[in-house]
Subunit: 417 residues, 2 copies
């Protein structure tokens, strides 16, 4: 467990985020990050060290454990804390054979999607981002649509292309607006979106609704999320039914799910509101978080990545349980493994804007990279890495890395390409 005390470590004992990993010759199973190691939960369960219950830790997703509910989550967190704390239970510390099987260096494992994503919904819950995007497209006087301050605006995303950090992202082909007629080819305005993703643990039945307080209890935890976006395709296809192919080629999430319990001390109250929310969206507790988010860009072959975004989840206007309560209020069945993206999170200054579209103000301005070069949108070979962390007692409650590298577009359409 070396490194768990280092201040820059994402995974101190107070965090215990969940993920799915594999090793050479042993397929995906559930684990917990601690320092620079991963604890194999399937091995611990097989060794009899974990609370009773069939939580499916030998499965390639956290879904079964998530569905087991808050008491099981709390019991496991308490037991892991006891097993790992100085002066805690000796059951793991003094079992060398089990330690050898169950405590593995993070550097030696491959991470997978932590959950089987059942539905992926992307919201638009950051006010500064909505204002900036609207200003670029429609001018500042019409930036926010009239509905925006009354409810979380969202759309269904594409589940099949939610990928784990490290998966390369191929530049998409698509139609874009041309002179008189559209043209077809690789997107020239490839962008990132720095988002916070909430993972739904408990399902609802068809027709059932949730209060905001109930929705909070249905959430398991959070991930970093990069909603890769092709702005030129989005601009042309977006009316009247919203973004589709411009978002469907990839959405990258962090491999680690940080739980509500780990972020308990990072909770914050919501923003000041000009407009009172309708009762079904009002909340009586602090469901926002102070989680710092950054994005770094490394051109291909660059020695150092340049920080391009510095923002914070506290800039959101709607909380995760508000997103979920709104989602369910029509009777939409929610499922274990649903992923709710916050939408791009932008702060007040240019360097806090969570996508290149905003930072370049619609492609007008070059964005200087601190370690050389500049960008307006992404180039082939660029790697983008999101990081994020709350701070508790001087330690980071971190998410690890959420990264992807841009591959060149296909050269033609069809299976042969």
């Amino acid at each position: 467990m070396d490194g768990a005390q280092a201040p820059e470590c994402d995974f101190p004992l107070a965090n215990l985020p969940y993920g799915v990993f594999s090793t050479a010759g042993h397929g995906p199973r559930c684990g917990v990050a601690i320092g620079d190691h991963v604890l194999d939960l399937a091995a611990l369960a097989a060794g009899g060290l974990l609370p009773a219950g069939d939580h499916g830790f030998d499965q390639p997703s956290l879904n079964r454990f998530m569905a087991s509910g808050p008491e099981a989550w709390a019991a496991l967190r308490a037991r892991l804390t006891d097993l790992l704390a100085e002066g805690g239970s000796p059951d793991l510390r003094e079992n060398a054979a089990l330690r050898a099987r169950a405590v593995l260096p993070l550097a030696a494992v491959q991470m997978h999607l932590p959950v089987e994503v059942k539905g992926y919904t992307d919201f638009y819950a950051g006010r500064q981002h909505a204002f900036n995007s609207g200003s670029i497209l429609r001018g500042p006087e019409n930036a926010l649509t009239p509905n925006w301050s009354h409810m979380p605006i969202g759309y269904n995303g594409r589940v099949s292309t939610v990928v784990v950090s490290g998966t390369p992202v191929r530049r998409p082909l698509g139609q874009v607006m041309g002179e008189g007629a559209p043209t077809f080819g690789p997107s020239k305005r490839l962008d990132i979106e720095v988002e916070f993703g909430a993972i739904v643990a408990l399902p609802t039945e068809l027709g059932q609704t949730l209060t905001v307080a109930e929705a909070w209890e249905h959430l398991f935890g959070f991930v970093l999320l990069n909603d890769w976006s092709a702005r030129d395709i989005q601009r042309w296809e977006g009316q009247p039914l919203g973004p589709f192919q411009s978002k469907a080629f990839a959405t990258t999430i962090s491999p680690w799910v940080v739980t509500r319990a780990a972020l308990e001390q990072c909770r914050r109250s919501g923003p000041a509101r000009d407009t009172a929310l309708l009762p079904y969206l009002q909340e009586e507790a602090d469901y926002f978080f102070d989680v710092k988010l950054e994005a770094h860009l490394a051109p291909q072959g660059a020695a150092q990545a340049s920080r391009i975004v510095q923002t914070n989840t506290a800039h959101l206007y709607y909380s995760a349980p508000q997103l979920l309560a709104h989602h369910a209020v029509c009777g939409c069945r929610m499922q274990t493994g649903d992923l709710l993206g916050s939408g791009t999170i932008s702060g007040p200054e240019r360097g806090n804007f969570g996508c290149l579209m905003e930072q370049s103000w619609g492609g007008r301005d070059e964005i200087a990279l601190e370690h050389g070069g500049s960008r307006i949108f992404l180039e082939d070979g660029d790697s983008v890495t999101l990081t994020g962390w709350g701070e508790v007692n001087g330690q980071r409650i971190g998410f690890g890395r959420c990264e992807g590298q841009i591959l060149p577009a296909a050269t033609a359409v069809g299976k042969a390409f």
Copy 2:
């Protein structure tokens, strides 16, 4: 197999649609409709009567069989035709014990979703519907957005609420535009959308694209689809990211998937086009169908249902393989079990319009019901039934019924309601 020769029967020998059914004491497995019976494919396979291969007929979805590919589909169709045809193989006809297990009255089985729906995408591929909807909202001169004639406009729908025919539909709660501020409550403008759904059988890899001809080969078959819609919620939430909660409460599909092979003689060429399509959407074969579609509405307790819609899939502007080719062209991974809705299919006259929004022209006109009463939008207790069929040699290649009844809305928000 009584009834397979009756002209009004949806399921003659030339059809052989696939579905998933259960019986008292025996869970969901795959079957084929023939006349007023269902053939239990799991029982036939266990009896050694079907071509070799592990097609998962004992599973509660057609997904494994769909993934097995065109050769397996053709082999099974040929074998079933031989087993069921007069003068064909005696293997089933002369095996009374197996017949008793494997040939069941349709009236005695319960139907389930035929496929595990992995992604649900709803398009907007009917020109008359797009023109009517745009005319109601923006006037006829701006009815079609500039992109409409260049590509299939679509959006990701909600997978978790795709339900099989017969599932009740609870009237959704939601926000609607009010005087000065939005209000919250049950939708007052609940509508249907008469659609044709295509089922994707063969997957693609992340980043892979498909030509239209390749996309055709990836399709398994078709279902009827009713995209229930809350027009007042849709109107308020729809900008800028498209429909969300207004469509997420339920989407009903027929229990039977009619295959491409069954509809082979119903194929037609596409529409005349003012605008040439970009090469990736051009098609060199007839990928449209002459399939008649109807909707009937029965008020609660009514002795007879009134026909409210008469239309035809031939009114579509984009074919199913065009939808799929466009969907995959950005590199979006397609999966076995993806469902692609056509969008509402409207013909030229009022009675051909595929939703109440069009028939009432935005809620302005009452729609008289032939058996008494009238509607503008749906009322609690109303049942709506879609039917559809191609015609081959005077026989119907039908889809069965796609129906749902409207339940009253919840009285408040929260799990207790």
